[in-house]
Symmetry: C2
Subunit: 88 residues, 2 copies
């Protein structure tokens, strides 16, 4: 189990598919950012799904893996978003 921050920059015609996959595994916390606890097995599944969708020459997804959510301090300037409930 690890705590992940996932950020992405995806071409417009693929971004909704990528969000749909990430929403299954993480919490959507900002337009291009997801967060959440995940097991190694689920992370592998998530990555396999993403690989089917992204264009590896153009798209970019970063997985910042922390041992747990106590390993960082998050401060928010402006709005703290919680987008998971939104319809894609």
């Amino acid at each position: 189990m690890a705590y992940l921050i996932v950020t992405y920059d995806i071409g417009e015609d693929r971004v909704n598919k990528v969000r749909k996959i990430l929403k299954k595994y993480f919490t959507w916390v900002q337009n291009s950012v997801f967060e959440g606890d995940i097991t190694e097995g689920k992370l592998m599944k998530c990555r396999l799904e993403l690989e089917q969708v992204i264009n590896k020459e153009e798209d970019s997804i970063y997985f910042y893996s922390l041992e747990n959510r106590l390993n960082y301090r998050k401060t928010v300037m402006g709005v703290e978003k919680e987008l998971t409930g939104n319809i894609l």
Copy 2:
């Protein structure tokens, strides 16, 4: 000194100003993500500059502060970007 990951979601008419400020303090690693080591004093200066520019009702900036860059593991899917050299 801490290592920060900074993510943002900013209105179109303000985003270039925000990027210009963040570029002074961090490395631009993805469209909406900056990273870098920063002292407490410089971070305060950076936050003050950002506060002049952002709309607190609409914009959102997250500062994920890690004690140091060894506290996380980053994996990249697709393109690893390095945008700092780009002209805004």
